[in-house]
Symmetry: C2
């Protein structure tokens, strides 16, 4: 094998070096930047225009999709946050009148959380605006871009899950 000290250009280097993963790192940082950027803007607009926090909005969004309500465990899985986190979040939303806790008829440990009528109405108004903000934030992507990004993120999601399951 030819192993002489021939200078390599950047392209070649990336291929030749067995353990260089700077490219994946840059990809991850860019993904993180996009999310942080958009999330921050959404958070800011929700606060300014509706006086609501993003976690509260996210929780109400989950409940809006489940007319019969959800348990804390369901919410925890869907929202990918800890159970303990939800206890406090739900408490505050109960206090503000957006959601109610109902004893589960089938499981005495669990309670079912649902939107109140006013909570649902308030959420729907916010959700409409929210959807427009998102459309605007992604507005410079073509339909083709969006489809392709969707596909690649789907693949990324599966890859991450595989890596997580494999180790955990």
């Amino acid at each position: 094998m030819d192993d002489q000290a021939i200078p390599l250009d950047a392209e070649t280097k990336a291929v030749e070096m067995p353990d260089d993963h700077r490219e994946e790192l840059r990809l991850w940082l860019r993904l993180l930047t996009c999310t942080t950027l958009i999330e921050g803007e959404v958070r800011s607009r929700l606060r300014e225009q509706f006086g609501v926090t993003l976690p509260r909005f996210d929780l109400m969004a989950q409940l809006d999709k489940a007319p019969g309500g959800m348990t804390l465990s369901d919410l925890s899985k869907r929202m990918m946050v800890s159970n303990g986190n939800l206890t406090g979040l739900v408490d505050r939303l109960v206090t503000s009148g957006h959601v109610v806790r109902t004893a589960s008829p089938t499981d005495r440990r669990a309670s079912v959380i649902s939107l109140t009528e006013s909570g649902r109405a308030e959420f729907r108004a916010m959700a409409t605006k929210h959807e427009h903000w998102i459309a605007d934030l992604f507005g410079d992507l073509t339909e083709r871009d969006r489809g392709e990004l969707m596909r690649l993120l789907g693949k990324t999601k599966l890859s991450a899950r595989r890596a997580i399951q494999g180790e955990g």
Copy 2:
């Protein structure tokens, strides 16, 4: 123009309805899911294997790239977090001996934050592992996938910035 009440299938609907942005919403939620998934796993491994939190790691990563140190404002811009947040984060890292504050020679308001020797050594060890984790998490994407995802996220970043600047 033919404007009769002909039933539309889902495909046609998406095209015909002027104000439906569910597709962008789904894209955003998927982006968020990917980030949350990966971030959670990285956070968990950093804690288990090194007893360090993700924000501490992120801060050290910024300082490692700036041998001369950085001011809080620099860090704030780079990390996209508030100034007040950094004050506490830096305080804790000073206490644990990972970073030092030095009075800025040119600006009496500012202090320069830099890694200590041991802080840098510790970070480098973590960073090596971290890079492998990321490579593994993105491991099922081909080189072509990664390039394409990088490009689309770049476009997304610009689009979001445009939408934010335009309103702000």
